[in-house]
C-alpha cells in the first residue's frame, strides 16, 4: 500500500500496465516530454521510451483513429484526450468505429482501446474545461465507461480497463486529482467492472453518485447523520456495465433515491438510473426520485461554484426525500 493522490494512482496504474505488458502504449497530446498537462504520464517517457509514449500532433480523431489501428493489430493503446471537452473531434472514431468494430465485423475485429481523459468542473475551467459528457458514451452500445472517485479505484479500474478486451472510456475527475489522497495497493491491483461500492451504509435514503460527486455526497450524508437521517451512499464507478443489482437492492431497502451528477440533468446519466427505478423498483419507492445535477446550461466560469452540486444541495435533496410521504 502506498499513499497516493488520484492522479498519482493513475500514473502508477499506467506504469504497472506498461511494465507488465510490452503491448501497452500511450499516445496523446503532450503526454511524453511534458508528462501530460496534469502530469498523469509523468516519467513514463523516460522509463519506456518514445516508441511507447507517443506525443502526437494536435488531432483527437488522429489519436483515437491511430489507437484503433494499433488495437486491431493487437496492441493495447491507452489514448489520452487532454480534456474530455476536446474529445468531440474524435467522436466519429469513438462512436462509429471503436464502439462498433467488434460487432460490425461479426466478432472478427475486437478493438481494445482505453481512452483516458480528465472530466468535470471545479477547477475554474469554464465551458470547455469542465464538461461531464458521460451520458453520450454510456448511450453508445459497445463502450464501457468507468469513473473512479478515489486513488485506489483509479488504479484498480484503470488496470482492469487496460487488461480488458473491450473499448473503455476512462473518465478521471480532475477536480480531485490532487485533493483526494488514499492508500493504493501496490502491484497489479484490479477493481472489476460492474461493481458499485458502498461508501456509507444507511437505511433511510439511497444516494447514487460517481467521480468528484462522491466526496461531495459523502459530506452531505455525513452531515445528515447528525439530523438522524441515515443515507446510504453508493459510488457507481462502473457506469457501463452498471451494477444494477446494487442500485435495486439499496432502493428496495430504503425506498428512496437521490441521484447526483455534475452533468446537465436532461437526458443525463441520472435519467437512466431513475428510469431503471421506475421500471424495476416502482413498488419499493416511497418517495419521488430526486436528481441533483448540473443545470441544463453550458458550464459557466465565474459561477461554477453555484452550478456544481454541492453538499448543501445534496443534503437538501436527501432531507426532502427522506421526509416525503
Amino acid at each position: 500500500m502506498t499513499e497516493l493522490t488520484l492522479v498519482q494512482a493513475v500514473n502508477r496504474g499506467l506504469f504497472e500496465a506498461m511494465k507488465s505488458d510490452p503491448d501497452v502504449l500511450i499516445l496523446g497530446e503532450d503526454v511524453g516530454v511534458n508528462g501530460g498537462v496534469f502530469r498523469a504520464t509523468e516519467g513514463l517517457l523516460k522509463e519506456f521510451g518514445a516508441e511507447r509514449v507517443i506525443d502526437t500532433p494536435l488531432s483527437e480523431s488522429g489519436i483515437v483513429g491511430a489507437a484503433i489501428g494499433m488495437a486491431l493489430y493487437g496492441m493495447k493503446p491507452v489514448a489520452e484526450i487532454q480534456f474530455v471537452d476536446f474529445i468531440y473531434p474524435a467522436f466519429d472514431q469513438i462512436v462509429s468505429e471503436l464502439a462498433k468494430f467488434r460487432y460490425r465485423s461479426g466478432g472478427q475485429y475486437p478493438c481494445h482501446v482505453v481512452i483516458r481523459t480528465p472530466y468535470g468542473g471545479g477547477i475554474k475551467g469554464g465551458l470547455y474545461h469542465s464538461q461531464s459528457p458521460e451520458a453520450y458514451f454510456a448511450h453508445t452500445a459497445g463502450l464501457k465507461v468507468l469513473i473512479p472517485s478515489n486513488p485506489a479505484d483509479a488504479k484498480g479500474l484503470l488496470l482492469t480497463a487496460i487488461h480488458d478486451e473491450d473499448p473503455v472510456l476512462f473518465l478521471e475527475p480532475k477536480r480531485i486529482y490532487r485533493s483526494v489522497t488514499g492508500e493504493v495497493p501496490d502491484g497489479d491491483h484490479r477493481v472489476p467492472f460492474g461493481l458499485a461500492s458502498t461508501v456509507r451504509e444507511g437505511s433511510d435514503v439511497s444516494v447514487f453518485a460517481y467521480g468528484a460527486m462522491v466526496p461531495v455526497a459523502a459530506q452531505a450524508v455525513d452531515a445528515l447523520g447528525a439530523e438522524g437521517i441515515h443515507a446510504e451512499l453508493i459510488d457507481l464507478r462502473s457506469l457501463v456495465p452498471l451494477d444494477e443489482k446494487a442500485l435495486l437492492a439499496s432502493v428496495e431497502k430504503t425506498g428512496r433515491a437521490v441521484i447526483v451528477h455534475e452533468a446537465p440533468r436532461f437526458c443525463g446519466y441520472g435519467a437512466e438510473l431513475a428510469a431503471i427505478l421506475a421500471e424495476k423498483a416502482l413498488y419499493s419507492l416511497k418517495a419521488p426520485v430526486v436528481r441533483v445535477t448540473g443545470f441544463d446550461t453550458p458550464f459557466p466560469y465565474a459561477l461554477e461554484h453555484l452550478y456544481l452540486p454541492n453538499a448543501e444541495r445534496v443534503a437538501h435533496a436527501i432531507r426532502t426525500t427522506a421526509k416525503a410521504a
Partner: protein, 377 residues
Amino acid sequence: MPTQPLYRKLRSERRSNSVADPTPSTAVDATGAEARIPSTDLLGVYRMMVTSRVVDERCLTLQRQGRIGFYVPMQGQEAAQVGCTWALSPEDWIFPAYRELGVALTRGVPLKLLLDQFIGNSGDALKGRQMPNHYGYRAFRFVTASSPVGTQIVQAVGTAMAARRKGEPIVTATFFGDGTTSSSDFHSGLNFAGVFRAPTIFFCQNNQWAISLPREKQTRSETLAAKSVAYGIPGVVVDGTDVHAVYGAVAKARELALAGGGPTLIEAQVYRLGPHSTSDDPRRYRSDEELNAWKAKDPIARLKHELLADGQLTEEADHEVWESTKAEVAKALAASEAMAPVQPRTMFEDVFAHIPLALEEQRDQFEALSAPGATKP
C-alpha cells in the same frame, strides 16, 4: 507489353492571379527501374479484373431482383483495384472503403464468402450485421469496412505503426475516393503518417465523382496527389485504367515504406462507370458524353487488347475466361442462396467480448416474446 512511362506527369500550372500563388508540383519520379507485373502474371490479373466485372454485373441484377438489398458497383475501377492489390503482399493489411470488390477478390476472398455477406446469411463472417459491400475478413488481413468515409485512413496508419513496432515487414494500404479527401480523417491520417513515417499506402481512387459532386467542386487542389505536399510525403498520380502504371506505383511505394521512407499518397485516376450505388441515378448529374468518353477507356478492354497483341490471349480464350467466370459466380451464388438465415440470437453477440447481464436480460425477454403465442393476449 507497354513501354511507355507508367506515370502521368503532373504539370505545375498557375491557377489564379493571386498575390502569392502556390505552384503545386507534385513531382513524379519516373526514373529508376520500374517494378513491372511479371509477364506470367498478366493472365491472372486479367482474369481477376474480369471476375470483378462479372460479379459486379451479377450483383446489380441480384439487387434489381430483390435477392440482395443494396449494392455498390465498381465498374471502371478494376485495373486500379487489381493492379494495386497485385503489388501488395498477402501479409499487408488492407483498409478498404465500400467499393473494393476487386481488392477483396485479388486478395483471395472466396466468392461465396462475399455473396454470403451481400445476402447477410448465416455464412456471412459479419453475421448479417452490415449492408452489402461492408465486408471484412481477418484471415485475409482485410479489415471490415464501415460507411462513414475516411475513418479507415487513420486506422491504417495506426496499424502500420504497430506493425513496425512489432518488427513485421509489412505495409498497410488504405482505399478511399476523391470525395473522401475532404474528410477530417484524410487530414489526420496523412498528417500522422507523415510525422511518424508510417509504412502506409494511401490509395485514392479518384473516380471523378462523390455521388453527385464532381471532382472539381470537391477541392481546388490541382490534383489530389498534390495534397501530399501538406504532409511532406510523396504524392503520385497514375492512370488508373492502366494496370501496369498502378502496379508500378504501388510496388514502388511499398518498397519505400518498407525501407523506412514512410507513406505515399497515390491518386489513381479512374471513372465510376456505374451509379454510386443501387440507390443512385447518375443521369441526374452527369452527361452521357462524359460517360462514353470514359467507357472508351475501359480498363478491361485495354488489358485485353494488350494481351491479344501480345499473343497471350485469343478471342476464344477470352470468351472462355468470361464464361468460366460466370459459371463460377453462378455456382457460388447457388451455394450462398442455399444458406440458412442468421439466427436472431446472434444479434446480441459481439457488442462486447462477453454479453453483459443487462443485454442478456434484453435477449431473454426478446426470445420469450418471440416464442409462439407469447404476444397473444
